[in-house]
Symmetry: C2
Subunit: 170 residues, 2 copies
Amino acid sequence: MSLRHAVLGLLAERSASGYDLMKLFDVSLANVWPATQSQLYSELGKLADTGLVDVSAEGPRGRKEYTITEAGLAELRHWLTDVQPTRVVRSDMLLRVFFLGRLSPEQARAYLHGQAQLARKQLEHIESIRAFVESGSDDLSVYGRLVLDYGRRLAESQREWAEWAENQIG
Amino acid sequence: MSLRHAVLGLLAERSASGYDLMKLFDVSLANVWPATQSQLYSELGKLADTGLVDVSAEGPRGRKEYTITEAGLAELRHWLTDVQPTRVVRSDMLLRVFFLGRLSPEQARAYLHGQAQLARKQLEHIESIRAFVESGSDDLSVYGRLVLDYGRRLAESQREWAEWAENQIG
DNA sequence: ATAGTCATGTAATGAGTTACATGATTGC
DNA sequence: GCAATCATGTAACTCATTACATGACTAT
């Protein structure tokens, strides 16, 4: 049920339409909590039904601007402070590792080599957007940079692991 | 569609019933690909329908032992070598970080402090099962240890990050 | 005019969770 | 006899993905 809170979190910064939120998602939350357009719209509908957001304005082309309500803010705060994060790590990359014994050692090494390379690419990418996001002093940017740094560290240790693991096979 | 391959991967080691697989899951794959009992049973049904596994024996209490077929092995190998892992990282722990600006600095620091502590607990836990899994020379154990080491590194960099991030707030 | 962007929605399907239901067999 | 474990399944629901459908406005 985290999409709901992702939406509330963004609307807490500023009011927005579904369309606006979609674009915001793509440049911020998408890396930690992907969502599709249809999910967003239906979630907004549900949030409005339960009174956590209001339609605060209607614009051209049927545009609806949503604003978070007091109840919505309370729910967001509750989620932030009282609800324990549930770390469900689902990784088909690691799942494959369990079964590398089905392949030849060369193939297994190739797989891990590929993962190391992917991690390097990921690192490059993160470094490249880093400069881009260096400015921005609003909350979302400030804390977004913490998240970005998590990503950097993750990619780095993934690279190290894959390189190490490749050498473990033989 | 990875649950399917998780099941195929386990059945490639040895034939087993749904019940057996469930227990195997809990001690091996559960950390990278959790699954519930009902998911497992229905997946086994679908796999049997599509001929990727066979019911090779029936035992007491309606027990059905499943065995992977040639087609199943081919599908597993195909998935291992030709299908790119899709890294969908969904983390409500990181999602919360984006919105820490909604809280007081003290609360935000407390959140990150809690995450650091959790990572330490996780590390301890991993170290404790490490000794336990040190033996075992079958493929699943050998490669399972690679996965375990990934978990160790992950927990470690998570701890470092959380400690760092805590100090970034102020 | 027409291409591009703004803007919202529905339908179908698959994946995952929780809870319930049922009963056989084994070991003490 | 009884508790524990073995063993399979169904139902209801939520969450997520993909594809489709529709149309208004804006800038050139």
